[in-house]
């Protein structure tokens, strides 16, 4: 077996380019565990909340500020997913091994 070449050496063009070659997110097991698990579970939770039967629960839910509850529910879950994903992404991006 040949030892892996030092970073950047395999790709001189990229390494020499204006943008420094990026360090990938660390291999599985090195990112902060909590956030990684959340990143994995987030789409699962999202799917659960957006799929029948749960999604249909608020259909007869009446109005809130004049807006149907189902509309608020859908866009609310959607916004929640976006915010959580933003937090997760920030945590995973600033993980120490990403700056190596």
């Amino acid at each position: 077996m040949r030892p892996p070449a030092p970073a950047g050496e395999s790709d001189p063009d990229r390494a020499a380019g204006a943008a420094a070659p990026l360090d990938p997110p660390g291999p599985p097991g090195t990112a902060p565990r909590r956030w990684r698990d959340l990143a994995i579970l987030l789409p699962v939770f999202g799917t659960l909340l957006l799929m029948p039967p749960i999604v249909a629960l608020t259909v007869p839910g009446g109005m809130l500020w004049g807006i149907p509850a189902i509309v608020l529910y859908l866009f609310g879950v959607w916004a929640l997913l976006i915010v959580t994903a933003a937090l997760t992404a920030a945590a995973l991006r600033s993980a120490p091994e990403d700056d190596a």
């Binding site: 077996m1 030092p6 943008a19 004049g66 994903a85």
Partner: protein
């Protein structure tokens, strides 16, 4: 008014297109000078992903909301889930795309499954089949919106607008989208234009939404109060179609060629994906948050209003907000054009890399060295492909534009590209998945998709006629395209998705299981599945090296033809420097070949790069065993641990040997101590007597003369004993070192034995000694030193006397010839014998512990005797006899035929 509007819209559209051209041109110029850093930001990356939102969603979402209530959200929720879950699939896709220079979704699937050319062609065909009507749909949207804003009645479609848009977009794409062959090199001008368009469409839609909610109504509550009775209050929408649409849109945001292009191929930085994971869903959120209000407003304010798909335009027009209408028109125009641009780039790359390049490789097979610029050929083919695809889109629009058939095409395309999903997911996570599975799955999915969805979408069932739709082909009911196997009553889209993806997945798995992966498939599988196990992006992908050879000249020519002269020159110079060469071409090392192939793959796709490299360097020759053992992480670890185990076993063996050697040394050391103690004892004993009696003689004046004589005799005897002891010790050293002089001559051993017996008959201990001479060997000769042999016999006889407590001491001596080759003499006694544990030790040099009652001497005699016998090529052994039956010593010597000396 009408002409004014027409002219105004036309001028606005032309100005906008001119702006796009100018922007792209300037950005391309400045990017060449490396001055457009902001283009590499995650925001621009996210905006380019928003090419997902085409005019079909820009205009069509409102129409969908009018017809199906909340159903329109699914088209955005699927991508949201996919991006929010970027850590699962997208991250791996992007990593693979960057590490292996993937150029398109066709390249991904083809590369993963053994760089298969067939798969590349199949995926390209499916993508083109799905995208061409989609382009037609964009042209129709542009045309329709143009007619709306220009006030041209919609009952007759004015194809000219569509035509000129098609021409403009083809020109733009060819101009800015085919500057380089390398798909991973970004088209900065295009990216800038797409980003601008993404902002324009978002701005336009949000502006219209805000205008509707707060301009036409008094806020959301007021607006929703005007919703039609029962609108949004049906649970029916959350049925199978809801699930299907979320799944399809989630698949589409990855599998659509243009999405793969912007998400994977043009990704420049994996961290951008982390930003896009929430920013893109946020973009989608903003794009759709005003959809319902616009739909409700349209239904409320535009009774009998015609096409709900155009509410985004007609609402501002109705309210005489012309500027806003124009902005909305430009937003829709942006959606359509950006889709056309990116789609045609992605598709043309696929066509040139997976259809034209393989043909070119075959065509130029015998002219590898002489043929011209393949790079030019491929770029030209891409340009032609772009023109052709957009032309096909326009023709499709021209043919079917009057009907409503186009409206459904968006979702039909989604189902088509969703066929890639099983192969992608299986390819990324299941190492056993192979090319046959992908081919079967994709083929089956493609056929079922065309049959269940494509066919019914054509007017009157296309070539098969309307009867097929109603009653099945040839009247076979179970084969009805919209009710396969009698699965009736489902929404056609759900039905088609279910059957196509089921057949696809099933055959993908069955095909993969039906044969073992080929070596290259196995290698690619490990590299794709384990992409995160390598050293990361900077490191080269781990994997075995194929044994390929090529000349540097051939490689350089190949690199020049594909990469272009300057990049090829740079690459080879870099390699030459790395190899420590001052000038000239680098050595054609496997690293160079591999690196070059990866670079070629970035331009022409993995399969074609491999084929081109094979012409120059020959095919990869590698056995499956080799691959498995090298590429398989588990195997590698196992081998490592086995090596460790072997090493630790070796260490253990060494340690055991050392322990044994140490024990032997200790034993020898102990024997030496014993021996020295014994020698000391043996020396001190006569010394004691000598000292004691000499003191008596010295200090006593009153001794009788007879007594004095006796004491002097004792002193004399003891000093003789001391001398004998020292002689023995010296003898032993001499025998041990082989320094004892031994003169071999043919003698009759029995004669020597007789002499020894006669000498010993005079011996008397406390008891009488009787020596019996039994059978004799007779006149046989051995090669021996007679004096030394006599010494051995006397040693044995005197031992028999000394180590004996019987009275009388009886010794039996006999000799014989064994098998005519060996002389044997046996001396046995009636003494106590030697205990079995001591039988080896009696011959040991340092073991003088074999002492018995009344023993005199150091007990070195047997060791010396055995040494002498060995020097004469004979032996001295002790027979195993039962305890208490006396000792039996056996002397053996080889018989010789030599005559005695005269």
């Amino acid at each position: 008014m009408m002409t004014e509007a027409v002219e105004f819209a036309l001028i606005a559209a032309l100005a906008y297109v001119a702006l796009l051209f100018a922007l792209a041109w300037i950005v391309d110029r400045r990017a060449a000078q490396n001055r457009m850093r902001w283009l590499r930001s995650p925001i621009v990356y996210t905006l380019s992903i928003s090419v997902y939102c085409t005019s079909w969603t820009f205009y069509g979402a409102v129409g969908s909301a009018v017809r199906g209530g909340l159903e329109f959200v699914t088209i955005y929720l699927g991508p949201t889930l996919m991006f929010v879950g970027w850590w699962l699939l997208l991250r791996k896709l992007v990593r693979i795309g960057r590490v292996y220079h993937i150029t398109s979704i066709a390249d991904l699937i083809s590369s993963r499954f053994g760089k298969s050319e067939v798969l590349g062609v199949l995926v390209t065909l499916i993508a083109v089949a799905a995208a061409t009507p989609y382009i037609a749909l964009q042209l129709k949207a542009v045309t329709t919106s143009y007619q709306v804003i220009a006030g041209i009645p919609l009952d007759r479609i004015d194809f000219r607008a569509g035509f000129w848009v098609a021409v403009g977009m083809a020109a733009f794409t060819i101009l800015f989208g085919t500057r380089t062959l390398d798909a991973n090199e970004r088209h900065h001008g295009v990216v800038a234009a797409i980003a601008l368009e993404a902002l324009v469409k978002l701005l336009a839609l949000v502006a219209v939404g805000v205008f509707v909610v707060f301009g036409l109504f008094e806020g959301p509550g007021h607006l929703f109060a005007h919703a039609p009775e029962g609108y949004l209050h049906s649970e029916d929408v959350f049925g199978p179609r809801w699930i299907t649409l979320i799944v399809l849109s989630a698949a589409a945001v990855v599998c659509l060629p243009r999405q793969f292009q912007v998400v994977v191929v043009e990704n420049e930085n994996e961290r951008h994906l982390a930003t896009a994971s929430w920013l893109f869903p946020a973009y989608l959120f903003l794009m759709s948050v005003f959809t319902l209000p616009i739909a409700i407003a349209g239904m409320t304010l535009l009774p009998g209003h015609g096409d709900p798909d155009m509410f985004v335009l007609t609402l501002p027009l109705q309210a005489e907000a012309e500027a806003l209408a124009l902005l909305a028109f430009l937003g829709g125009f942006s959606s359509a054009t950006s889709m056309i641009i990116v789609s045609s780039i992605a598709l043309s790359t696929m066509v040139s890399n997976h259809i034209v390049a393989p043909l070119a490789v075959r065509l130029f097979r015998h002219r590898t060295r002489a043929s011209g610029d393949v790079r030019g050929l491929l770029l030209t083919s891409r340009r032609i492909a772009i023109g052709t695809l957009i032309l096909f889109g326009f023709l499709y629009f021209r043919v079917s534009g009057q009907s409503d058939a186009l409206a459904a095409i968006g979702l039909i395309a989604f189902v088509g590209v969703a066929q890639f999903l099983p192969s992608i997911i299986g390819g990324l996570y299941w190492p056993q998945a192979n090319g046959r599975g992908a081919l079967w799955g994709l083929g089956a999915g493609f056929v079922v998709w065309m049959y269940t969805l494509g066919l019914p979408s054509l007017e009157d069932g296309g070539p098969l006629g309307p009867e097929t739709l109603l009653y099945g082909p040839f009247g076979i009911g179970v084969l009805k395209p919209e009710a396969l196997l009698g699965l009736d009553g489902l929404d056609p889209l759900v039905h088609a998705t279910f059957w196509s993806l089921t057949a696809n997945t099933l055959l993908f798995i069955l095909g993969s299981l039906s044969r073992a992966p080929r070596p290259l498939e196995w290698l690619q599988a490990r590299q794709f599945v384990d992409v995160f196990r390598g050293g990361g992006l900077g490191a080269e992908p781990a994997g075995p090296r194929f044994h390929r050879t090529a000349t540097s000249e051939d490689l350089f020519i190949l690199a020049q033809r594909i990469l272009g002269a300057a990049p090829a020159h740079d690459l080879f110079e870099t390699f030459a420097r790395r190899q420590g060469l001052a000038q000239g071409l680098p050595l054609p090392t496997p690293e160079l070949i591999e690196d070059l192939e990866r670079r070629l793959a970035g331009s022409v796709g993995g399969a074609s790069a491999r084929a081109m490299m094979a012409q120059v360097a020959g095919g990869e020759e590698v056995s499956i065993d080799e691959l498995v053992s090298i590429a398989d992480e588990t195997a590698r670890i196992m081998r490592y641990s086995q090596a460790l185990e072997r090493k630790s076993e070796e260490l253990e063996t060494t340690a055991r040997q050392l322990r044994e050697a140490n024990a032997r040394l200790r034993e020898i050391d102990r024997q030496k101590d014993d021996f020295l103690g014994q020698v000391s004892h043996e020396v001190r004993t006569p010394m004691t007597a000598i000292r004691s009696f000499s003191e008596i003689l010295r200090t006593s004046d009153d001794l009788e003369s007879e007594q004095a004589r006796r004491f002097v005799t004792i002193i004399h005897d003891e000093s003789l004993r001391l001398t004998r002891l020292l002689d023995e010790i010296l003898d032993m050293r001499v025998v041990e070192r082989g320094e004892i002089p031994i003169n071999l001559e043919p003698i009759e051993p029995d004669a020597v034995l007789d002499q020894a017996v006669q000498t010993c008959e005079g011996l008397r201990g406390a008891a009488a000694v009787r020596i019996t001479v039994g059978a004799q060997a007779g006149p046989v000769r051995v090669a021996a030193d007679p004096d030394r042999l006599r010494q051995v016999f006397i040693n044995l006889l005197s031992n028999a006397v000394r180590h004996n407590d019987k009275d009388p001491v009886e010794i039996a001596v006999e000799s014989r010839v064994v098998d005519g080759v060996s002389y044997e003499a046996v001396v046995s006694d009636n003494g106590p014998g030697v205990a079995p544990p001591d039988r080896d030790r009696v011959f040991s040099l340092f073991s003088a512990t074999w002492t018995r009652a009344g023993e005199k001497g150091a007990g070195l005699g047997l060791a010396i005797s055995r040494g002498i016998m060995h020097r004469m090529h004979g032996d001295l052994t002790l027979d195993d006899s039962p305890p208490g039956t006396g000792a039996r010593f056996r002397v053996t010597l080889p018989v010789t035929t030599e005559d005695p000396p005269p």
